[in-house]
């Protein structure tokens, strides 16, 4: 063991003289951290939020939740379910509108299919509805279609077209070149190449994304009623405004349960679509 100790001491001596690398300084991280912290402090201190009301918020919310559960009445259930069904219908039909509108646009926005000019124009066209929330579409459509679910459906359809179109275009750009080349080599025309080499590759992912967007649209359509565009939002808004907590609680529970159930079902279908049929 003394031999080993000697070598160890010699090694220690060697190490003491060794050069250590210097810790590099991460400017990027510093800048991001400072920007976030400073932005947060600035926003918190300047915003006109009446922070004094914050401490009472948990108690108030707790109080409201208590009233919602305490005054819960089964009699409100049929109404809540019917309104929620309307929300689901709005989300479903809106998603279908968006799917139909976005599908051709997605090919025009894909760099490996369309020319550069077409791509730039189509992408900008898709960017606009993507940035505008559904509710704003809805308020603009209500004077046209009147109060009711049709305005909400069209609002959801138009605003989802942007997101679905952009993501579908990205999926199309990610497809393999090989089959396109093979179709080309077999003498296929451009539409034929798209139909037989591109669409079979990208369809599962695009359909899965339609479903995913449907899940998101349910959340959107559940609140469209706040501005009168149909669905359970109207019931929620009115019962909360007029402090009918039992009804509000029932509507809230229905929204949460239906959303979670549809999320789970749609998620399972999406995974099955991506995986493909089991042989």
């Amino acid at each position: 063991m003394t031999g080993a100790q000697q070598t160890r001491r010699a090694a220690d001596e060697r190490l003491r003289r060794a050069v250590r690398p210097e810790k590099p300084f991460n400017w990027f991280r510093l800048v991001v951290t400072v920007a976030v912290v400073a932005g947060f402090l600035l926003a918190t201190s300047t915003v006109d939020a009446h922070w004094g009301r914050l401490p009472e918020a948990p108690a108030q919310l707790w109080n409201i939740l208590g009233l919602m559960i305490g005054e819960l009445a089964l009699a409100d259930l049929p109404d809540a379910l019917a309104s929620m069904w309307e929300s689901v219908a709005i989300a479903w039909l809106g998603t279908m509108i968006a799917a139909v509108l976005s599908f051709p646009l997605a090919f025009l926005a894909a760099r490996n299919i369309a020319g550069p000019g077409t791509v730039v124009v189509t992408r900008q066209l898709l960017n606009i509805p993507r940035a505008i929330p559904e509710i704003i579409f809805a308020v603009a459509l209500i004077p046209i279609f009147g109060l009711g679910p049709l305005a909400g459906t069209v609002a959801i359809g138009l605003s989802s077209t942007g997101t679905i179109g952009k993501l579908s275009a990205e999926i199309i750009e990610g497809c393999e070149r090989g089959p396109i080349e093979a179709a080309d080599a077999a003498g296929a025309s451009k539409p034929q190449r798209v139909r037989w080499a591109v669409i079979p590759q990208v369809m599962p992912e695009i359909v899965a994304f339609w479903l995913y967007r449907f899940e998101i649209n349910i959340r959107a359509s559940a609140v469209l009623g706040v501005v009168g565009a149909g669905g359970i939002g109207t019931m929620l808004q009115q019962s909360i405004e007029f402090r009918q907590w039992g009804q509000a609680g029932m509507a809230l529970i229905v929204v949460i349960v239906v959303t979670i159930v549809i999320d789970a079902a749609s998620g399972a279908i999406r995974r099955r679509i991506i995986r493909g049929p089991s042989s």
Binding site: A4, T7, R8, A11, L15, A18, R20, P21, E22
Partner: protein, 258 residues
Amino acid sequence: MIRFTHASVTYPGGVAALKDLSLDIAEGEFVVVVGLSGAGKSTLIRTVNGLVPLSGGSVEVGSRTVGDLNRSRLRALRADVGMIFQHYNLVNRTTVLNNVLMGRLNRVPGWRSMLGWWGRDEVERAMRALEVVEIVEKAYVRAANLSGGQQQRVGIARALAQEPTVLLADEPVASLDPPTSHTVMRYLHRANRELGITTLVNLHFLDLARQYADRIVGLRAGAVVFDGPASAVDEKVFERIYGRSLTADDVLEAEASL
């Protein structure tokens, strides 16, 4: 130093990985365990630091019986037993130094490690461990930017930073090419010879085992079928361990010439 007494492991589902195994490893020994994949080599090594609990029998490390330790004592034991993995098990997204400092986690107060406040002394120990494997210049490079051989050297440094009395290595060269395999084996050998750390290594390649081991243990279907000095391993012993004769797949140099 390490003593297995009638140790057995049965996994849920009824697979018996170790069967009534008894083995004694002395302090400072360099022991290589060889055997087919599925023979129980990985299980054997993981019972030493309690990553796999025994279903029967006992394992002792020094004066401690692994199965009898409570959680915090088990963690203290693990801190004294360094481990090296086939796939290196580094956090790719962080620096080499941070990976090596993981070896010091049990030696610093919990709250300080949570905040990432490492003392000068801890950093120094990590740097020294990196120097043993001659890769200290990469201390602030992300682990992802290193080659496989370099990553495994960082893995060794992480284990050495624990200042362990026992070193476990689970197929440390299985993902590396032959020259790099020798480099890694030499570092393990050096840790054993210069620092006096008892070392237990799983290997697939017999020639590597013969070259570096003091002692070779042959494992087959969860039981010891050979135990002796490296020089005593010949064709017959090999057949006893592997149940077939030697092929090119079983030696590193043959594979290199392919």
